[in-house]
């Protein structure tokens, strides 16, 4: 998404560069000069083309390697590998559905928590905050994005888990909430700390800086004229934000959210440290331990015995790869349609 607003400013540049280059070479007489330049252009074009192609090649290579190495389990289990609910190394049973669900569920919890906070922060920073707040807060948010995930994990074990246990889980478990029909499944379990909820919360904290920083940049990129037109029509600041600024940036903000989702999907270390690493009896239970695909890989790969066990884990990687691509395609389509909505307004 970020490429769309940028395109306008980037496109004129190559022309300018070419013009400058031409101006620089013009005084130089002789036919050799343009010929050299043409070779340079070809080489430069070829190099950049190869660079872009290499990204494509790497993705295909990853997909091919993962598929090749997981062939033993693909042959042995077929689609039951994805739908199976039991993973037991001793019995040699490998089903990844709980891991797939855990990845989707923990990422969903993270988005539910992170999106309102990130959007609020982005709107405040771009539209409302005075400079003396904006600069340090923006800096802090960017700092948050740079913290290694194992640090989040340690913080999760020593600060977040006890906090969730004392201030969230135990009070809720002692309240009438778990007995309400409909939500009863979500609020059951140990409630001792390591849990799906903890994973969702830590992921939310980790993706907030991403979504905030990108959304803020997108909001800042909206032309002044849009806001001024709105104020000119007598709109208040709130009306301008709500009806002009946010709708204008909608596709970009969705893109920012997808960026956060991508990070939540792949996050391994911090999740492994707080999720409890156990297939839950009720997959929706927030207070029970859970499992994600990446935490399963982190846990099981180093000690995997060769053969079916290793192939099964590589297939978990393949499934994660495919799920991540599918979610991205859906997101792209979503962005495409929301972007079309406002194209007329541009």
């Amino acid at each position: 998404m970020t490429d769309r607003p940028l395109q306008g400013s980037v496109r004129p540049k190559p022309q300018k560069v070419v013009a400058e280059a031409a101006a620089a070479t013009e005084p130089q007489p002789g036919p050799a000069r343009p010929a050299v330049r043409r070779v340079g252009d070809t080489v430069y074009g070829g190099l950049t083309f190869a660079a872009s192609l290499s990204i494509f090649a790497i993705i295909l290579w990853i997909a091919w390697k993962l598929t090749e190495q997981s062939l033993p389990t693909i042959r042995a289990y077929g689609f039951r590998f994805v739908t199976g609910t039991e993973w037991d190394e001793v019995k040699g049973v490998f089903g990844v559905w709980p891991f797939i669900f855990g990845t989707l569920y923990s990422s969903f919890i993270a988005l539910v928590l992170a999106v309102p906070i990130s959007l609020g922060a982005a709107i405040f920073l771009s539209e409302l905050a005075p400079r003396w707040i904006r600069t340090p807060v923006t800096f802090l948010i960017e700092l948050l994005a740079a913290i290694p995930s194992v640090i989040y994990g340690l913080w999760g074990i020593f600060i977040l888990l006890p906090f969730l246990r004392e201030k969230v889980m135990q009070p809720i478990l002692n309240s009438p909430l778990p007995n309400l029909p409909g939500v009863s499944g979500m609020f059951q379990g140990y409630g001792v700390g390591p849990s799906m909820l903890a994973a969702g919360v830590i992921l939310a904290i980790m993706i907030i800086p991403f979504i905030t920083a990108v959304s803020r940049d997108i909001l800042r990129a909206i032309p002044r004229a849009q806001r001024e037109a709105s104020y000119g029509m007598g709109a208040t600041q709130w009306e301008t934000i709500q009806r002009v600024v946010v709708p204008y940036a909608k596709s970009g903000i969705i893109g920012a959210v997808i960026l956060g989702l991508g990070r939540a999907f792949g996050e391994t270390m911090a999740v492994t440290m707080v999720i409890g690493n156990q297939t839950p009896s009720n997959p929706f239970a927030l207070f029970e331990p859970g499992y994600t695909m990446s935490s399963a890989l982190a846990n099981k790969f180093t000690e995997a015995s060769p053969g079916l066990h290793t192939a099964a884990l590589i297939e978990v990687g393949l499934v994660l790869f495919v799920v991540a691509i599918l979610v991205n395609i859906v997101a792209r389509v979503l962005v495409f349609y929301t972007a079309k909505d406002i194209q007329g307004g541009r």
Binding site: W87, R263, A304
Partner: protein
């Protein structure tokens, strides 16, 4: 953003490939890789050995299976494992020898408010806690073993290793011997499916979970329980005595085991009257035609190195095993 998402997925998916391929060693450095259980000791050995001889040893703590894979692929000079190699693994790596290095105890650490250190537990009770058959600390089967201790009605939260580990192998091997139900439902392995509880990656993570979670009980290597100042239980052995896990009780258990000539034996559930029952050897795996430098290092580790074991929380080899292990090392080319 698309490529970033894919990159994240790709890193998660295949980044692990890098873990299995250890880099080729430079001629003068000796490389080893494998079990994490004895890694703290091996790293101390490497340091002391370098000071004594100038020879550098690089030990990577990548897990027992990684150690087996790497020595099979000749990617390292020695591997290390907490469990003996299986028959099929031995077929893929003919000529790999098991050298016992030290023994270690797996202890049950717990965190229950108002309960003193060193409560008494039996193997079947531990098995039923991990199976979910005993769910509260004031269960009559626990209180009967500990007269005078006032247990709260709190939930028991079993903590286990979520990653594959030799510690789990020793622990499940023991429980499967003392509880038919555990053998039936869970079985023995480096990675098993526990029916309930919370999982942590690595000894340090399980220790942290126990420390952080009221009502938790978890199995960790003795040194980790001591370093984290966790209470741990006395466990009843086959002779009916409740044994506190100590270095001495570990050595006693190790002495009682009759190791076969290739040293491949799991020694849990000792017959010794004063031996702690949840104990295992950890082995270094070498090829018969290994470098002379490796032979020298192993000779040192089995002699001088043994003195460093106890301060690090591991039991030195019993004298007879040490003698036999040295004989095998001396016979290396």
């Amino acid at each position: 953003m698309n490529s970033r998402t894919i990159k994240a997925a790709a890193v998660a998916a295949i980044g692990f490939g890098a873990l299995t391929g250890a880099s080729a060693a430079r001629a003068q450095i000796i490389t080893g890789a494998g079990a994490s259980f004895p890694a703290p000791l091996y790293q101390r050995w490497a340091q002391a050995y370098k000071q004594a001889t100038g020879q550098q040893i690089n030990y990577q703590s990548i897990g027992s299976s990684g150690g087996v894979k790497n020595i099979t692929a000749r990617a390292v000079d020695f591997g290390a494992s907490d469990g003996p190699m299986t028959a099929s693994e031995m077929q893929n790596a003919p000529g790999v020898l098991h050298i016992p290095m030290v023994a270690g105890a797996v202890v049950l650490a717990y965190n229950v408010r108002g309960v003193p250190e060193h409560i008494k537990l039996t193997g079947p009770v531990i098995a039923d806690i991990y199976l979910g058959a005993i769910t509260r600390w004031n269960d009559p089967r626990i209180t009967a073993l500990n007269p005078g201790v006032n247990f709260p009605a709190a939930n028991i939260v079993p903590a286990f290793r979520s990653d594959g580990s030799g510690t789990t192998n020793i622990f499940t091997n023991y429980l499967s011997q003392v509880s038919p139900a555990f053998r039936e439902r869970v079985g023995v392995g480096k990675a098993v499916k526990f029916p309930k509880g919370i999982g942590g990656k690595g000894n340090e993570s399980v220790a942290a979970l126990v420390r952080q979670t009221p009502g938790a009980i978890g199995y960790v290597e003795l040194a980790y329980a001591e370093n984290n100042k966790l209470s741990y239980a006395d466990v009843q052995n086959r002779k009916g005595n409740f044994i506190r896990p100590t270095i001495a009780a570990t050595t006693t258990a190790a002495e009682a085991a009759r190791l076969p000539s290739d040293f491949r034996l799991i020694i849990t559930n000792t017959p010794a009257a004063q031996g702690y029952p949840i104990v295992g050897y950890t082995w270094i795996l070498v090829r018969r035609d290994t470098k002379p430098g490796v032979k020298k290092f192993l000779q040192w580790a089995l002699d001088e190195g043994q003195k460093m074991a106890a301060p690090s929380g591991y039991a030195p080899l019993p004298a007879n095993v040490q003698k036999r292990a040295l004989a095998v090392v001396n016979s290396l080319q």
